[in-house]
């Protein structure tokens, strides 16, 4: 069974091999374990990019395969980050408080320790009480469970409500966007219990770990690579079998699948929730590398960028999502970080830090218009299994169903 899965999906092996190669190469070039050719901050950027690739896979699964253009997956990403961030912040503050109170002549009571931690964490929002949602913050295990549970439950409830009432297409997109906006606005409040617009900070410091950031960032890179590999395997496995056929069928013609007797809502709900969980895990790996999380990360715009990555990379192909996320986010870093040389036109100097978003927006329009298959369309050409150029009819009667020439899977 296993071998047949691989033979049916040769791209999985290639992807995993490339990922392993990449990880090993970075390891040998890192400051912690190798020649020191790439700086720790760049290792962090690469690690974060791997997490973004993972959420792009989730997005591809839900949009490229199931046809649900969710503009809310960064909300799950952010929630995952918040859940792990709560533990990181609590545990680290606790360590600091205990070590500072240890110098006091009288050993502190448990209440004093808790109060001191509360003041440290919530001082910025003018409070020192622990809100109820921090009840499990002292336990890494429980917070890790919450990383999966909270976004999963949110996706389940939201998806159930939305799919049950047959909200589809652009309505669903707008609804998911509204959900993200609601979450972001909620988190922006000071009394949300998650430090308002200050967000959670200092997440790059692992409590109880004395290793330098050079080493820690490598650990996270490995962890992210592993998660990406596993996520890719899982996604490839999900889309390869009958299940994959059904969700592609839902994408192309939902009504027909429903008439064939499949529980369309159930399938959609499963995919939506699964991808939300993958997104949350990606977020839980991303934010310790970023070091800070605040509600702006959850803003609707982030989720739209996610759709941009997947579209540019090529939806309906898992490696396309990965390529799109890696390519666009790295090139964004390059342009906005001042890496790109400015162009002097004589009368006007194009500063890429200012003009990059304009370029991105326009190239995005171009890709959508001219190359709906994105970058991964190039691979199809290379592989030679480009479908014949029939300016075919739509595969389904629904607006937006794939055209014949687009459907190569």
């Amino acid at each position: 069974m296993k071998s047949s899965f691989i033979t049916r999906n040769p791209s999985v092996l290639i992807f995993l091999a490339l990922l392993a190669l990449f990880t090993i190469a970075v390891t040998f070039m890192s400051e912690a374990f190798g020649a020191g050719l790439i700086s720790t901050s760049f290792v962090k950027t690469l690690g974060k990019t791997l997490c973004l690739c993972l959420i792009a896979i989730a997005m591809d699964l839900v949009w490229g395969y199931c046809g649900i253009l969710s503009l809310g997956h960064f909300a799950f990403f952010g929630l995952g980050g918040y859940m792990i961030g709560m533990w990181l912040m609590y545990a680290r503050t606790e360590a600091i408080v205990i070590s500072s109170l240890a110098n006091a002549p009288i050993p502190p009571t448990a209440q004093e320790v808790t109060d001191a931690i509360g003041t440290q964490i919530f001082g910025v929002v003018g409070s020192s009480e622990f809100p109820a949602i921090w009840a499990f913050a002292d336990s890494l295990f429980l917070q890790l469970v919450l990383v999966v549970l909270v976004p999963g439950a949110l996706a389940l409830v939201f998806g159930w409500l939305a799919f049950r009432s047959r909200v589809t297409g652009v309505y669903l997109s707008i609804l998911t966007q509204a959900m993200t906006l609601a979450l972001a606005l909620y988190l922006f409040q000071n009394d949300s219990g998650l430090r308002g617009n200050n967000g959670l900070s200092g997440l790059q410091n692992l409590p109880g770990v004395t290793a330098s950031q050079d080493t820690v960032s490598m650990w996270f890179l490995w962890g992210s690579a592993l998660a990406l590999g596993l996520g890719y395997l899982l996604a490839a496995w999900v889309v390869s079998g009958k299940f994959g056929s059904v969700i592609r069928g839902i994408r192309d013609d939902e009504a027909r699948v429903r008439f064939l007797g499949y529980s369309v809502e159930g399938y959609k709900l499963f995919v939506f929730t699964l991808t939300a969980i993958i997104a949350a895990i990606a977020g839980a790996l991303y934010y310790p590398q970023a070091g800070i999380i605040n509600p702006a990360e959850v803003a609707p715009i982030a989720s739209i960028y996610l759709a941009v990555w997947v579209a540019i990379g090529g939806r309906g192909r898992l490696y396309g999502a990965v390529i799109g996320a890696a390519f666009v986010s790295l090139i964004s870093t390059w342009f906005t970080g001042g890496g790109a040389p400015d162009i002097n036109l004589g009368f006007y100097k194009i500063l890429w830090t200012d003009w990059w978003l304009v370029l991105l927006g326009l190239s995005f329009v171009t890709v959508t218009l001219l190359a709906p298959q994105g970058i991964s369309g190039l691979f199809d050409r290379l592989a030679g299994f480009r479908s014949p150029r029939r300016h075919g009819a739509a595969l389904g009667p629904d607006k937006g169903s794939l055209q014949e020439k687009e459907a190569t899977e």
Binding site: P105, A162, Y171, Q177, I301, D354, V358, L362, V365
Partner: protein
Amino acid sequence: MIRHLLAAALTLLTALPLSAQETPVQDLLQTHRALIEKSSRKTIQPAIDALAASGLPQAQAVLQAWQDKDMWQREADGLFFKAEKIDKKTYRLTDFDSGRTMGEADKSTLDQQKPNSGIRALIGSALVQFQLSDPDPARRLDALTSIQRDPEAAHLAPLRASIDSEPDPDIRARKVRLATLLTIGYAKDETARIAAIESVSGDLDRDVRATLNPLVQTRRDVTAGDIAGDINVARILTPGAEDFPRDEAYALLVAKDLAPARISNDDIRNALAAHITEGKVGGIPVAQLDDPAKREQAYAALAAAGTVPPTALSEDVETALSDHIFFDAYADPSPAVTEAANKALKSIALNVGTMQALDLGLDALSLASIYFLAAIGLAITFGVMGVINMAHGEFIMMGAYTGYVVQQFVPNYTVSILLAIPLAFMVTFAAGVAMERLVIRWLYNRPLETLLATFGISIALQQLAKNIFGTQARPLTSPAWLDGAWVLNDVVGVSYIRIAIFVLALIFLAVFLFIMKKTRLGLETRAVTQNPRMAGSMGINPGRVNMLTFGLGSGIAGIAGVAIGLYAKVTSEMGADYIVQSFMTVVVGGVGNIWGTLLGATMIGFLQKGIEWFNPSNTLAAQTYMIIFIIIFIQFRPRGIIALKGRAAGD
């Protein structure tokens, strides 16, 4: 002393010839000379009263000069003059009675009268009666305003006295009203106060509330035995009740010296830290002191040894609390007055509540019209054509920036706004047509990709605006005739800009209905929307119609941008702030129906204001709950409030 005697002697000598010239004020001043010279707040009153009651026309000038520290006494003869500074040393003297200049004098021969602030206040209240019956109405009004700002018991009598002689009916009404308020606050007669309180019951003015509230203010007090009879008790408190925790009750006892203080946990810890001997405190090893019980034990041991002051134990607190009666007492001693005041306040609160509801309704209406303005263009592009335009918000922004640019060239705000509206329409119409031709028409069958492509345009436009206009907010100034507000009473008021936006929304609605129902373009648009192929067969060019319709929707967004820019600041992100709400408005109302959009905007506006009313400080939470409500609402009416039925519904 000698100096005084000398001065008195001189006065006797000089007063004789002067009195021949009719100097009533100077005589009066001389009569009370000793008091004036002594200048003490406690004894000065007769002097002031004598001046005020003298009925002399010059009395006001004297009091004024005295209050302003312009009254000087000539040391030689003890006479009082108004003195003006000429230079550092020299002063010009003016006689109070005749108003004539009495020559110049050296400063060293003069003695300035320097009433302290207490005396100046007394003079001030004496002056009030003059001002209240001043022939100049403006000064009478000034006096009323100053009394209103800083009411005093002393103002009541002169105010009442001045009412009868008041010729101007408006000022008279104000005087009567102010007298009523002063009566409530300061009158000695209880029945008069109660009658005054009842007369203002239900009045919405802020002054009334400001007068009544101090009457019913309470202070918290405690007594060991029975409550003294002269205390006007508001209510008896039970320690441990929800609004009166035991800690607070005990703190009150401590503050009144009725119970010993409890030492705080921090102080206990510090005391323990100060008394560590050989790793132990009070016989308990330091390492065990992370337990609160052990800490108390150690402290008790220290207290028993006399090294630290004892602290009250929990039993002591218990008995102390049960031995005392805690109560809230009114500041005003008369129960009848406080009862009447409470009753009046209650009826005022009811009226205020009604008015606030009205105000909230008006606020909600204006918010709804803003949402409607932002959404109406979208109702055309999304509602009628089914095209998702994420760049709609950026068209709003473009309209607002057009208004800003026009104001840079046309300084007259009225003209510039009138110019900006058609210009904004043209700019965004052109942008909309260009976008439709270049991008959207290739994507008519792929709505999700339209969403993404227009989003790409949206971020490009946003960044472009940022590059051109910078990140800071740009002002779009409204003409002066739109400043200010329509004020109904102290509670209800609507700014003219909001009214203008409301009117604009109504105009837009009318224009939209006219275009859709009465014009060729509207007819063709509806035809193309329902069945493009059939419309094409009938000789309509669907491409052209789509282009114009999209341009129209975008152009309306541009005009909305000018209106919103007047109301909020113009930034490159202003469009993004409205885009989700606009889509919500259209979706909630029902796609494809302008009345639905109107209802959707009204619902969202009222809902948001309603939620804000529960928690006014938190608009973020209001928006959160509103979106959640909308998500749930869509569960029950997935096609909006007004759902299209049959073929028009599309799928």
